[in-house]
Amino acid sequence: MNIVLIALLVLGATGLTAAVLLFVIAQKFKVEEDPRIDEVTEVLPGANCGGCGFAGCRALAEACVKADSLEGLLCPVGGSETMAKVASILGMESVAAEPMVAVVRCNGTCEARPRTSEFNGSRSCQIMHSCYVGETACPFGCLGCGDCVAACQFDALHMNPETGLPEVDEDKCTSCGKCVKACPRQLIELRKKGPKNRRIVVLCRNKDKGAATRKACLNGCIGCGKCMKECNFEAITVENNLAYIDFNKCRLCRKCEAACPTGAIHAINFPPRKPAEPKEEAPATPKPAEPTVPTTPAPSVEPKKEEANV
């Protein structure tokens, strides 16, 4: 009995001393930290994807707390919803951010862009890009090894085995920008999601002259400039034989889409055109247009579940 008592006393006394010591040291060397940082970190998604430009969610939280206004600070994953929460914690005004989405600007499907060689090395876009032009003749197009798919942390990118191109799942895409960095050919761009997720995009990055582009890929932009003439809002510029639609100026009238002779311009998530108007989009490429047509005028039956060929 005595032994037990002694043991209890000794251990108890040691524990108590250690506790007091630890408490004193903890107080003495306490790091003063704004408690709001923890709160803000709580509401952030916690994916640590780096899409905001900071090392992780906590780093963004620190920056938010330190900053005077939330301008320029944005969690692309959480979007304006999360930023509103952050703003309410910090008592600041939230800056409305347009939701963005990743867009793969290549439509060189297997049918439109014939394979000219076979790459027998490692299946990595980076490596293939460093070796040569790629398996097709287009030096600007998608290489199809899926570096972007591997880079996506949100499972929003998948390769479509039929087209050989990556497709973005709009519901899952958080526009963190990881895929943009992963693509050695700079094919992926973050664009405004647009009203009702509708947007018009040139799905091509080929800067070669029209004839060379055409030879490599039937769906490529040949830089003819028809779309530029058609556009009433000066949203389209043609530079280096390549058209580009400025999403800030585009009013989604779809005139350019109809004017494009190769079908390089795609209207995404629009209802199908009325059959009464025989406007015939992409008349020049009846065959290659096929795989992309079902995704282009996004069927209202399946609003967004199916990844649109973005």
């Binding site: 000219t116 090395g121 490596i127 070796c131 040569y132």
Partner: protein, 444 residues
């Protein structure tokens, strides 16, 4: 017999197909395309215009910077356009298109085969003539030769090492050149020795070319300070730093140039071009290429003027074999598989190798078993397994810390890997990335 000390592998040399085939001149084409990027450094700037008449040897594009090289017209005819062309790897390069008419040379060029002995020339004049002739290293890297001959202040060259190793399997163009143009090469070496103001030159030749060793030894013995060094077989002995180690037993420090140990290395083909440029005033407009492969009808060594379509050269060698699975520009170790033969011959392509379908497939890679064979094989003393892994994980700073920039991309690691891992693929990609990062940093 000596060789370099670190790493190396022993691939089968397969030189029997084209060895001892006399150099054959390739006929002139109808139309020629002269790419303006045939060297390391800035692209050359065209000095002719559409519609101009040019003669053989006339300057058509000027060096675009210090590290760059002049380009001369290999043909006589009319410039049809100045545009871009696609090379055998799909890259777009600026080029001059010529419609070939006849074969009219510039008057000052001595195009005969007569041997010209050395005249008395100042070192500066020799270097100027080399620079004007647009000579680049024909061993593969295509570094402008005149830049090598001007050591930075404070550095002094002590020995000229002439690279007659040709360690790359299949290729035989340098071997044949030594047999046929030995005397010219010796004179070229004397010119370079004078240009560098040095008294010692070593010609390194691997012992699988005994006839070339005997021939060059006979010729070199007449010249004071010149010797032939027979070397044991080992790839990549033709690498600059490996050859220096093999010949004079000195190792170039990491990141430094050969001049650091007092050596200048030039390929025999380059030396021959120097002879022609300096004493016969003939600029660099052609080179010897090896067209080879197991099933090529007439494998051999062909003298090709730059701009000749490769398809013409291949036709001369009997056309593309039916069972071809892969066409490699260069040798099997350092060369790159091409995706099209629709490109002109240029200073860079030392050979074409046709691999049969069954030999051209890669073996499916398996996991790294940590055997460290690649570490033992790396001639630069790097750790390829680690660098490849870092490249895969995009740890660029880690790669830089492990001296990725010393990699010479010889392919020994991939060759030796028992798991068939594509180590060089990753290392090369990482090297390009890290190189870009370093350049961006130093530009700041």
């Amino acid at each position: 017999m000596s060789t370099f000390r670190i790493g190396g592998v022993h691939p089968q040399d397969n030189k029997q197909y084209s060895a001892h085939q006399t150099i054959v001149d390739c006929p002139l084409p109808q139309k020629a395309i002269i790419p303006l990027v045939q060297h390391i450094g800035a692209p050359a700037q065209p000095v002719v215009e559409k519609g101009d008449k040019v003669r053989v040897g006339q300057l058509i594009a000027k060096a675009g910077g210090f590290v760059s090289a002049n380009i001369h017209s290999p043909f006589s005819g009319t410039i049809s356009k100045i545009d871009t062309t696609v090379d055998g790897w799909g890259a777009r390069v600026p080029a001059i298109f010529i419609d070939v008419e006849g074969d009219l040379w510039l008057d000052e060029i001595d195009k005969s085969d007569n041997l010209v002995r050395e005249g008395i020339l100042e070192p500066k004049e020799i270097i100027d003539r080399i620079a004007a002739a647009g000579i680049v290293g024909l061993g593969g890297a295509c570094f402008p030769t005149h830049v090598k001959l001007m050591p930075p202040p404070g550095k002094k060259a002590k020995v000229l090492i002439v690279n007659g190793v040709e360690c790359e399997p299949y290729l035989t163009c340098d071997h044949q050149l030594m047999l046929e143009k030995g005397e010219e090469i010796i004179i070229g070496i004397q010119l370079l020795m004078r240009a560098l103001n040095i008294q010692r030159a070593i010609i390194g030749i691997e012992k699988n070319k005994p006839d070339a060793i005997a021939h060059m030894q006979k010729l070199a013995s007449r010249v004071l300070g010149m010797s032939v060094m027979p070397l044991n077989l080992k790839y990549p002995q033709g690498g600059e730093k490996q050859l220096i180690d093999a010949c004079i037993g000195r190792q170039v420090p990491s990141g430094a140039l050969p001049i650091e140990v007092g050596a200048v290395v030039d390929n025999v083909a380059t030396v021959y071009a120097v002879y022609e440029a300096v004493l016969k005033r003939k600029p660099l407009i052609s080179r010897v290429m090896t067209i080879t492969g197991k099933d090529v009808a007439k494998p051999g060594n062909y003298r090709v003027r730059f701009g000749t379509p490769l398809t013409d050269v291949v036709a001369l060698a009997g056309g593309v074999p039916e069972n071809t699975g892969k066409i490699i520009g260069g040798g099997p170790m350092m060369g790159r598989a091409m995706n099209s033969l629709d490109m002109p011959a240029n200073k860079r392509v030392s050979g074409l190798l046709f691999m049969p379908e069954d030999e051209s497939r890669r073996i499916e890679p398996e996991n790294c078993i940590r055997c460290a064979k690649c570490v033992g094989a790396c001639p630069m003393g790097l750790e390829p397994y680690l660098l490849a892994r870092q490249a895969e994980l995009q740890q660029w700073d880690g790669m830089e810390a492990h001296n990725i920039m010393d990699c010479i991309e010889c392919g020994c690691c991939t060759f030796t890997c028992p798991s068939h891992r594509p180590l060089l693929d990753y290392v090369r990609m990482g090297k390009a990335k890290v190189g870009g990062i370093i350049r961006a940093r130093s530009a700041k």
